[in-house]
Symmetry: C2
Subunit: 306 residues, 2 copies
């Protein structure tokens, strides 16, 4: 089934303890589309780019089934640019440069050809932009998931809470869940967030995996223990794209299938961090993903003799 | 099969965000014995206490099958006393008072009646004390596991490395694994630690669960997401006691059974933190543990449609 992905398509300059790149494509919608397109060939991208965004990168995504009708191209504008440096722990980073460029004028228009979509992923963006997309949908999609970040909690908490009240699922990391609710316990934080509106919640914990909440149910997914996390940029977007791509492919919104989707998202994210930018995601296919999922199975599989 | 537990039996004064207690029994060997005695009724305790250690606490352990021949009682001495205050995150704490008391003269003697034991747990103690126990064993036990803490890395690294070189398994937390090896990646740290001698390694990650390493194999166990961690004191010792108690009961040292033992230890630890001190461990039975293990199964169980 069709999937709308809303987010940034950008350039990043990245520095990790393992090296640096000056200019590589990035953006939440880029990572999410690469991840999701392993499962569904009907992806409707919503973003804004400058004339500088590489044609061959667009073509590569189109070949994966990604529609660009909803991607505004500002010919004489520059794409969003972000530059960051990761600390040794790879969980914390300094933003060095944030040039919004064309993103400053992002006012997404959902094309008529996108209106049949049942699955919507709202990547991390200004809450007002996320809300505008929801309001443009003529029928209620089966599943709307949203990502956000702590920045919006500081500058636009009211708008953020309004959007959270409209979606089916929120994805945040553990620090953001705590900041959003004032609760240290993630179980308590999850309850408060689900009281804000979303039926489902995913709390991402980086190298410690992710938790999926639905009512009183909790699913705990591990992260694959890796020798090196080469570049964590985009891992969260890749997780979200793999997660919702798998749901769109299976068309099954049961809690059991959501658990499977969390593992699929985790598997995709474990590839993402192996190389700079989306490089590794562009190399892998479904066979690689299947093998990685098997690694997750053997990582957590146990049987108790009683 | 019989199990030797070496460690402290003590008094603790504890302060957490949820309350405080001025004087409650504690100590690594106390927690470990309560946990292990759910599975094996042949536990040989090795410790040192003062005349102030409550008789009824000793009797309660004896009724669980814990032998005290190896526990030295210094009638006119005071038991080890530790006082600590936990921060809001429950992962960090300040030591307020550490009165070694009789622990300063701890020179464990392994009684002849303990020599048939195949399982040995060395709780966190001075490495020289741990080594003395190993050297007193007339035949090599099937499994010797040891706990330690970062303090010994600062003051007795050479002795610590010698003991690590003699045991089958080391249990440390993630920070200690990093400090011991200088590696941030836990996978790399694990390889370095296993090169020091132990065939097996468990890295405890508190609310994020635990990792079991053996050669190239890794098992990831979640922690049960809890609304409140009331008092984390003794959770690591309880984990270790439940782990080795289950192994001693099953007598099966395969990697598959070690994975099960990690879940059993995690289940026990999840009870430990529900009340101050070992209170909760003294209340529960095998039925509670079985139900808790079922919660672990549903927490991580998934199936992928391919």
């Amino acid at each position: 089934m069709s999937l709308i992905i809303v987010g940034t398509m950008a350039f990043d300059a990245l520095e990790t303890p393992f090296g640096k790149v000056d200019r590589i494509i990035g953006g939440s919608a880029t990572y999410a589309a690469w991840a999701a397109s392993n499962f569904t060939k009907s992806i409707k991208q919503v973003s804004i780019i400058g004339g500088d965004f590489p044609e061959h990168e667009i073509d590569a995504l189109k070949q994966r089934g990604v529609a660009f009708d909803g991607v505004e191209v500002v010919k004489d504008g520059k794409s969003f640019f972000w530059s960051g440096r990761y600390h040794m722990d790879m969980n914390t980073r300094d933003s060095l440069i944030t040039d919004l460029n064309v993103l400053a004028q992002f006012n997404p228009v959902i094309p008529e050809s996108y209106q049949d979509c049942d699955y919507v992923m709202l990547g991390n963006l200004a809450p007002a932009v996320q809300m505008s997309v929801i309001n443009q949908m003529k029928h209620r999609p089966k599943l709307v998931i949203m990502d956000t970040m702590n920045f919006w909690m500081s500058v636009a908490m009211d708008e953020l809470r309004s959007v959270i009240g409209k979606v089916d699922m929120l994805l945040v990391n553990d620090g953001e869940a705590r900041e959003l609710t004032g609760e240290y316990s993630l179980v308590k934080a999850a309850k408060k967030i689900m009281q804000m509106g979303p039926k489902y919640l995913i709390i991402k914990k980086g190298e410690h995996g992710a938790l999926l909440f639905y009512g009183d149910k909790i699913f705990s997914a591990p992260a694959l223990p890796l020798e090196d996390v080469f570049d964590p940029t985009g891992a969260g977007d890749t997780f979200a794209g793999g997660f919702i791509g798998y749901l769109a492919y299976t068309g099954d919104l049961s809690f059991d299938n959501m658990k499977a989707a969390v593992i699929v998202g985790s598997a995709l994210a474990s590839f993402c961090v192996e190389k700079f930018g989306p490089t590794r995601l562009q190399e892998i296919g479904i066979e690689n993903i299947d093998r990685r999922i098997d690694e997750f199975v053997s990582l957590i599989n146990f049987e108790i003799k009683r």
